[in-house]
Symmetry: C2
Subunit: 342 residues, 2 copies
DNA sequence: TTGTAGGCGTTATCAG
DNA sequence: CTGATAACGCCTACAA
């Protein structure tokens, strides 16, 4: 591969000059610039951004850590991150944790070894050692989706407790009294736990008893939502409505209900969380708590770049809480008490 | 930041030794290894993979070029790529072209500047200059989704012509005679063009006339599919069935039909292409041509690593055609001729 | 405006 | 088994 050196020789200038035409074309005569450019063409020169990174200690790369790119909510925020980063001339390295904290830990380290300048991090333990390590080393990062426990940490997200609360309020307003929840295992996702907190708060506010038997924690997959339905409907006193901590589980649950012949929303109401683009197309259209994922990614990256610029900004500007919206669709209906057989 | 040098000083060994315990721990005494490891701990050493890349000329990074990570078909293949790469200790840099060739060209260059060792490329012009440039420079890459014109180029994909053919055959077997197509603009996507070829082939085989008015080329977006419906249904002699070149357009089209009160499949049949995970959940479940996207990504990366290993393999092993499958669901129904009013 | 030379953090070769 | 040292390709004072 041709290097800056080869180009220099060919153009009969110094490497410094070549470097200049690359980085500060203004600081070079038109004539020499031309010479250098044609020399570059001639030897098929390809700039080596690695060497640049080593030399300047700026890789122009950031890392994105998410649970799983397959989940549309994460592809949306990823796209938001990429679009902002790319405007700044940065690239992204993308890794998936599959909600596994050990993997998250390992990947964050690998990303740091790759010299990413900063991280947009979706963590499963906002108070965990990954975040603490980053803080200790003053490594630039911004959390998305989860709220950091630590006050100085930048983040962009929605109020998950409030989201869970809203979802449940809707169901209760529809006269449902036995409301189940299918949640991502709390050990896997802090967001899921928060949403459950909101669910409980709503129950409490409305004087409804909390029945732990109505909450099933599971893993991330359509099938898991499906399975959860079996479990829930096998109960002696099954729920008439279900809140799912994400849309994937909700879709799985819907499938599960259809399979056992339960009609949605006549016999069972469902509300999801995330409001991925597809939720409005499913049958019936899924009621869900909307998160502005693209915007979250974009904003997070905006903040990350502020952090990188090292010009100090008030920490308050680094904690952004976007609004969730309740997207009401046809997967929920009022509950009518059936006649009780004697 | 602590470097290998700091560690060496602290452990009272040479940098060479430190490097050894990192890369070939076997070639070092247990004792010195311990010394070095504790020294690394002590100064919070973080390995610099950039420097390694410069020195070894291996960045342990590959590039992924796709139109848009938002499209689930691409997140699936991306995940397949990532999973294989990560098994080999590689990371990926992901970029979106938005089906824009200029962008593709620019991004491929940037990726090469970042010294990615290879590329898994989704191109819009398999015979274009991007691919040719790569070939000329003997840069390792494998194409996915599209078929290269050039014989030596590695690729993994499905037979798009056959896919389009199958979709259309299904519709024809259901007695449809006016079959429209909503396609991604051929200038944007070579796949779309191929699928159209298959569509035409099927028409021809069945002795149906080809009506260009029934084919609308558009951009990638739900709304574009929706718009296309207006256009098609405004025709004096509108279609009774529609083949869409991808599921996103199909979902948009379905929405469009619902909005004008056309029932699917009773009044209009629809078949898509890609069979993304969500297509089975929509209303009605979408008939679609299934592409094994995850597997395509995985296989493509497998091949890429063979290419990287420089051990020569038969080119034939580098051209993989996976099977499409026709996933028949409820968005298609037989066409019954309506009574003609006199 | 242009050139010289040292440094960025690793690896790898070659001695010891 | 360990150490010294020259690359790797680029950037950036500092000089000229």
């Amino acid at each position: 591969m041709a290097t800056i050196f080869d180009v220099a020789r060919r153009a009969d200038v110094s490497v410094a000059t070549v470097s200049r035409v690359i980085n500060h074309p203004g600081k070079v005569t038109e004539k020499t610039r031309q010479k250098v450019n044609t020399a570059m063409e001639a030897c098929g020169y390809v700039y080596n951004a690695l060497a640049m990174g080593l030399s300047t200690k700026r890789s122009r790369t950031i890392g994105i850590v998410i649970p799983n790119i397959i989940n549309p909510i994460f592809s949306e925020s990823t796209r938001g991150i990429q679009d902002y980063a790319s405007e700044k001339g940065y690239h992204v390295i993308l890794v998936n944790t599959d909600y596994l904290y050990e993997k998250e830990k390992r990947l964050v380290n690998l990303l740091r070894e790759k010299q990413v300048e900063g991280l947009v991090l979706t963590t499963n333990k906002p108070g965990g050692e990954v975040v603490h390590g980053l803080i200790k080393d003053e490594f630039p990062f911004v959390l998305i989706y989860s709220h950091p426990k630590h006050p100085g940490v930048a983040f962009v997200g929605v109020d998950n407790i409030q989201g869970g609360f809203r979802a449940t309020e809707l169901l209760i307003s529809l006269k449902h009294r036995r409301i189940g929840m299918i949640a991502l295992d709390f050990s896997l996702s802090d967001r899921s736990y928060q949403r459950w907190l909101g669910y409980r708060r709503s129950l409490k506010k409305n004087g409804l008893p909390y029945d732990p038997g109505l909450v099933v924690q599971t893993e991330y997959a359509f099938e898991k939502g499906e399975k959860a339905v079996e479990l829930l409907m096998g109960l002696p006193h099954p729920p008439t409505a279900i809140f799912c901590s994400n849309d994937i589980l909700a879709l799985g649950a819907m499938k599960g209900f259809k399979e056992i012949g339960k009609r949605i929303p006549e016999e069972i109401s469902i509300v999801g969380f995330d409001d991925i683009a597809f939720s409005k197309f499913v049958a019936p259209p899924l009621t869900s708590i909307h998160q502005p994922a693209y915007e979250m990614g974009w904003k997070a990256t905006e903040i990350l770049f502020e952090l990188l610029s090292k010009i100090p900004v008030q920490a308050s500007r680094h904690r952004i809480l976007l609004d969730t919206e309740l997207a009401v669709r046809q997967s929920c209906a009022p509950f009518f008490k059936k006649k009780v057989k004697n």
